[in-house]
């Protein structure tokens, strides 16, 4: 099966049963991550990017209904029994979260939490577990790793907590790291350090990374390819350069125009008129059509199919079908 694809998501549909009705949060998402690749999943808050990430490890709450396939190294994760799934979680696929303070257990010292990984997955320990953990803390460039082993999460700064979290994920040497807004809760200066760290570790540990973010700056710096999501549908997929320099989808164009580019040119920031739709009764067809300046009759009826722009660059829009 080895065609260089590590993770392949096919026709993923996710509904949430809520008191107000069924929210159709993910509407037919397909994507793939190659070995060693950094794929960014980008979109505004509520577009479903975190939901996709969580569905990979089956971390969604009980009221979620998931359909489709999530193939990891050829096995469908959605079909795995609980015991097999637990072997993948943390060992094969690691995940780091937006808020590293609340992602660490407040009542235990950092060292114990990282050692937990060795116990769960029965990892090989060369010397003592303390040495292994300190080694990991060194790898994530934690200052004073010996002492930090004994620190409680609340004694660490945001950046140090995220380093501890990353160290924990490295223990299992995962082939895929899911980073859910890894730097959004951090100071700008720390953000750059953590991003650099993640990129360095990707090379050292040979990981693929699924990066969830709403920050195009982060994407530009890290990702190989981008998936742009809007309201549970994919709008555009492509290599970073193509997306940034030659955006095709009206939503991607709007999103990039809404960015403060600072040094490039002085111009007024634009916004995309309208609001993110209610996902309990989403707009039919292309979900972006109520806000799209170029919407046609067809957009209200038919879900767009991917149109090839260039190698690896696809756009889901009816506008480009004709031209």
């Amino acid at each position: 099966m080895n065609d260089g694809t590590l993770l392949k998501i096919e026709d993923l549909y996710i509904n949430f049963r809520t008191d107000e009705g069924i929210a159709k949060v993910i509407d037919g998402v397909s994507l793939d991550i190659k070995y060693g690749e950094v794929l960014a999943l980008m979109g505004e808050t509520g577009c479903g990017k975190s939901t996709v990430a969580k569905s990979i490890l089956r971390l969604l709450p009980k009221n979620a209904e998931v359909r489709g396939k999530i193939l990891f190294k050829g096995t469908n994760i959605l079909d795995l029994p609980e015991s097999e799934l637990r072997k993948i979680r943390g060992k094969e696929i690691g995940m780091i979260f937006q808020d590293p303070l609340t992602a660490l257990n407040p009542v235990f010292i950092v060292g114990n939490q990282i050692s937990e990984m060795f116990k769960i997955h029965k990892l090989r320990i060369k010397k003592t577990i303390l040495d292994e953990v300190v080694e990991l803390l060194k790898n994530v460039r934690m200052p004073d790793p010996q002492r930090r082993y004994y620190s409680y999460p609340f004694e660490l700064s945001g950046g140090m907590r995220q380093r501890a979290m990353i160290a924990m994920m490295l223990a299992g040497r995962p082939s895929l790291l899911i980073a859910d807004e890894p730097t959004s809760a951090l100071d700008v200066t720390i953000q750059a350090q953590i991003l650099k760290l993640i990129m360095d570790l990707r090379n050292d540990y040979n990981m693929s990374i699924l990066l969830i973010t709403h920050d195009p700056g982060v994407v530009a710096e890290m990702a190989d390819r981008i998936v742009i999501m809007y309201a549970g549908q994919i709008a555009e997929v492509g290599p970073v350069r193509d997306i940034f320099l030659n955006p095709q989808h009206p939503y991607t164009k709007g999103l990039l125009r809404a960015l403060p580019l600072g040094h490039k040119e002085e111009r007024e920031l634009e916004n995309i008129p309208g609001r993110v739709p209610n996902l309990i009764e989403p707009p039919p067809g292309c979900r972006f059509h109520p806000r799209c300046p170029h919407a046609m009759e067809k957009c209200k009826k038919e879900k767009p199919k991917p149109v090839v722009v260039s190698n690896e660059h696809f756009v889901f829009c009816h506008l480009l079908r004709g031209g």
């Binding site: 490890l57 971390l59 009980k62 637990r86 072997k87 993948i88 979680r89 943390g90 060992k91 690691g94 995940m95 979260f97 808020d99 609340t102 992602a103 660490l104 257990n105 407040p106 009542v107 235990f108 937990e116 990984m117 769960i120 997955h121 620190s151 409680y152 609340f154 004694e155 979290m165 924990m168 994920m169 299992g172």
Partner: protein, 289 residues
Amino acid sequence: MTEEKRRAVGVSMWKLTWRRFRKNKLAMTGLVILCIIIAIAILAPVIAPYSPVEQHLEDRLQPPSSKYLFGTDELGRDILSRVLYGTQIALRVGVLVALISAAIGVTLGLISGYYGGIVDEVLMRIVDIVWSFPSLILALAIVSILGPGLINAMVAIALTMWASYARIVRGETLSVREELYIEAARAIGESDIRILFSYILPNVMSSILVLITYNIPSAIIVAASLSFLGLGAQPPTPDWGLMLSTARTYLTIAPWYSIFPGVAIMITVLAFNFIGDGLRDAIQPERVS
């Protein structure tokens, strides 16, 4: 944050709690009294002037004197010795009942809060039923089924008191289970059992501890009440409730007989309540922040 300030918070939650607890005078008084009570319980055989069951039939119902500091009862037994030995029983009953009911209630509360759904619904309705009875009445009913005796009384009391643990732990579990570190624990492959006992339990431990310190004195009172009603400790056990029960007959001619065991119960219960209040206040600010 300055290095100095960081060092100040660089201690575990328990140390912080202790620091705040120590400033609370009432709580510290309670703790000192409790230490004395524990010492008395351990040293009772050494410090008691007589055996608690030794009868001096020639000295029946004697008022306090230099020979019998607290006086004697209707069989001429030394009340001081009986009160001192009674400490052992009271503490044993209080602590064991609290631990048994905590074990039952905490387990059910964790399961109820974590799994939710039909399990939660059924367990919480049982809790509602248990809670709707005054604990003494329910304990009375259970003892009358099991038969009188101190052990049966303890089981009965534990069966009435677990409900408050279950309800509080369930509530806390509901909020803790939504925390990101629980999701993170699942994301690294922890099993449900490990998540319940290694992640959720330690995070709800402080409320459980406060509840235990409140639970011990109520268990002592209910046990004493059962003994008073003849369903708990049986003669000649030097149980405070049992002593009060017999003393009632002689209330007018030998008031000291009721006063000393009564005061012993009061002091013990107060000490635990002071500690409970202090502990609650010391833990609360940590939970709010």
